[in-house]
Symmetry: C2
Subunit: 492 residues, 2 copies
């Protein structure tokens, strides 16, 4: 190899495209790629800038700029008297796309254990197609009307909404005020706007609560069965053996069982308004016992109140938080009553815990996006949310009755039966013990029907087969078609 290359020995510079312009930048790129690909090797000399400029028919200044850029990047080095060379420090430069690298990449397909666990979560949490019976799909009469969009357009014109700089991790004050007012009236939650933390929904509320409240060795009560969102978090932090599963009966979670099994637990994660997924409310006697336990054991109650707006008979139970504002982390969401892709909810926490929740949120993602918070604040405070709830409550009550009657018409009671309940946006369809609910779910998905299996909501080996059927703005025709398909799959 000659000690000094000539310009003509740089074939790759032929790649310069005069029509494209920016010839200096093109030259930089081409030289850089040549070094990377190994066409130019560490220690090799480049032509002089004068030579290269004249052979390329471009100004010498452009070549000088390109060399200087590559010197700054460390690709080239200039030595007085011996011109410009490819940096010798690049000797270990890894050639891309080599055979060896491809092999290595294949070997790396094996994931580290935590990554493997998260990948499994991703499969379980994959969003369902927006067809019956995916929960909370805002179509037709259950979607917010044009008011939502108009408010969005209006608030986006405000200086404070968007664009704006880094914002409060606790959320926009106008929204916190509107929420404090709303939960006080609708759920007997005792709080000030200073206790409200805007979240991306219940899931983030649960995540933050785990972060802030739990030390690595703390045990927690989790309902049996439970929302996969909470068991997933605890599994993901390696806390699977710290989860004490507390069975649910017709009065909700069995507090006495919990006390016997783990009186020293640091927190109880519960769904008192409407047990998820089974649907019963926690009785007042149990509520009292739960609060008494939390007080005497210095423990926290995390009250996941994901869909209490949708009670169809009687008044909803007042929140647990109202009984013990000092012991309860209250979680709410707009995913169910408005729409999930909004990603806005709230945690209401004892005031002295507020800074800790804000700090945990800062590390996760800094703060909630601002614009939609302003829209939602206006939507609530101008009365649109109340009107929307009144409207969709009727729609969902109707859909629920329709779905029940469709199921009774098409599915044999020997194979599947509905769990009673008078609240919420889903029904549980229990399946005969001989049926594999995960297999049914997969087959239903193939047939264009979105359901979730119940058995993974129980701890290993305790699962009972069943399906979660979510309510959305589906028509009777859509629901009937989907139930007929389900009937075929279940019977098969």
């Amino acid at each position: 190899m000659p000690r000094r290359r000539q310009a003509t020995e740089l074939p790759f510079v032929g790649a310069l495209d005069r029509k494209e312009g920016q010839l200096g930048r093109q030259l930089t790129l081409v030289l850089r790629e040549a070094i990377r690909s190994g066409d130019l090797k560490p220690g090799e000399s480049l032509p002089s800038t004068r030579h290269l400029a004249s052979s390329l028919g471009i100004s010498r200044g452009l070549v000088t700029d390109a060399f200087e850029q590559l010197i700054a990047e460390g690709f080239l080095e200039a030595q007085p008297g011996s011109g410009t060379k490819v940096s010798r420090g690049l000797s270990e430069f890894p050639a891309l796309n080599s055979v060896e690298q491809t092999k290595r990449a294949k070997a790396e397909q094996k994931l580290p254990p935590r990554a493997e666990a998260f990948a499994k979560v991703a499969r379980q949490f994959a969003p369902l197609p927006p067809v019956p019976f995916a929960v909370s799909v805002p179509v037709g009469p259950t979607a917010p009307d044009d008011t939502w969009r108009r408010l969005g357009n209006r608030t986006r014109g405000l200086r404070s909404a968007a664009p704006s700089g880094y914002d409060d991790p606790q959320g926009v004050l106008a929204l916190r005020r509107a929420i404090a007012d709303y939960v006080r009236k609708s759920r007997s939650v005792h709080c000030t706007p200073q206790q409200v933390i805007i979240t991306a929904g219940t899931q983030q509320g649960l995540y933050l609560a785990c972060q802030v409240l739990l030390e690595p060795s703390d045990r927690v009560w989790v309902e049996e069965p439970a929302y996969r969102g909470i068991t997933g978090i605890l599994e993901g932090t390696g806390a699977i053996e710290r989860m004490v599963r507390v069975p649910v009966d017709e009065s909700g979670v069995d507090v006495e069982f919990g006390v016997r099994a783990a009186q020293d637990a640091r927190a109880a994660f519960v769904t008192p308004s409407h047990q998820y997924p089974l649907g019963m409310p926690l009785s007042m006697v149990r509520r009292t016992a739960l609060v008494a336990w939390a007080r005497s054991s210095d423990a926290w109650i995390v009250e996941d109140d994901y869909d209490s707006e949708l009670r169809y008979v009687g008044h909803p139970f007042p929140s647990l938080q109202g009984l013990a504002p000092d012991r309860v982390i209250y979680l709410g969401t707009f995913s169910k009553i408005l729409f999930p892709s909004l990603r806005l909810g709230y945690a209401i926490v004892p005031e002295h815990l507020v800074p800790a929740f804000c700090g945990a949120r800062s590390l996760m993602d800094r703060h909630p996006p601002s614009a939609d918070q302003h829209s939602l604040a206006a939507f609530i405070s101008e009365g649109h949310l109340d009107r929307h709830i009144r409207r969709v409550r009727l729609v969902y009550a109707d859909r629920r009755m329709q779905l029940i009657s469709i199921i009774e018409r098409y599915i044999s009671g020997d194979l599947a039966w509905l769990q009673p309940g008078d609240q919420g946006m889903h029904l549980v369809l229990w399946l005969a013990y001989t049926i594999d609910d995960e297999a049914v779910t997969a087959k239903a998905m193939d047939a264009g029907v979105s359901v979730r299996a119940v058995s993974p909501m129980y701890s290993e080996g305790k699962g009972k087969p069943g399906l979660i059927l979510g309510l959305g703005g589906y028509t009777n025709e859509q629901m009937e078609k989907a139930v007929k398909k389900l009937a075929v799959i279940i019977t098969a």
Copy 2:
């Protein structure tokens, strides 16, 4: 106490307000509160529905409904033959607002250790007021123009944008496509849309990377000094002793030092385009060495490329990811170049890690809000982002020069001097060793000037005093006023 109360012995029912209407609901509320407050005690009998209805002058059906609701809630119990009583299971019912409870609440103000650590983070991450020199404040010429709002209004009219149901944790495909195209052209990032994961910004990208890549005992390289966002995450997960701080010199992070100190580290968190906070790029020799280390140690490089769009001289360095797409997690954000309250950014990861990142995100907050993703996808693919970057690059270059000259005019070089650098949205103003940068920051805040201290970005005891001065769309007059105030504070 008489065995059977008479209606007239329920003074609290006088609270019913006939003008308000909903007398049945009011009665439920009043009875529930009477039980809670102890006015009605466990085991006490209620008047018959007939008696109560007649004494209140309301229909008996309303009273029956109220009783049934309270029986369902567990406040009352009905026994054949002996009428309706307050549930005896409520005997442990905690009276609210008791003196004892107030005492207890006071004692609980002491936070558990993790909560205390998060509260400290909250103080450090508190957003700065949008005055000089808070970074990335989109005012005047640095804010996106009306196009942003128009696009938002347009995409919000789409069915797929908002309202919509639960969406993909990886983000909206149109946006992932637009980003893959953008980073390929601007940063030589090698990726497909399938490798792009939409995040809420760099902070969430760092958080997800820590979740997915690190096992509890893994050591990691962190630059010295470093962005508090990454050291905060590692401290928050109790990994403070697993952080190997690797010093930064004029060529960026000292890779040889890292290899000597912790060759077996699982990951290196680096800011190669523009070291945060010091500002120098990582040299090509170091880049090569870093990639060689990652390959030989089976380690990951997390490349935080938070502001590479804003290089004012020469071309930006190509990304590290382009050198080693199989070993690098590339993080970008729209917080700097668009506006922070948007909360959108991206992680670009080797394809086999995508499901793990999606699973970790599902547990944190399910998925990014959908509507703004559609707006941003249109903003990029219709060419507005490129135009915006060209515009603000000129603005920031000008603001930067102006700020440098203002500082040279008003602040004595004995007390403070600027770190050179030709990229980004902030300058580092070093302070004489005798000056306490955190005290200066607090005093500046009181004087209406937003700066951040540099010393907390170093590990304990290694800190050098300095200030981060962020660029935004501030006028010369605003900057001059703020620098004069800073000069006074520093001189004091």
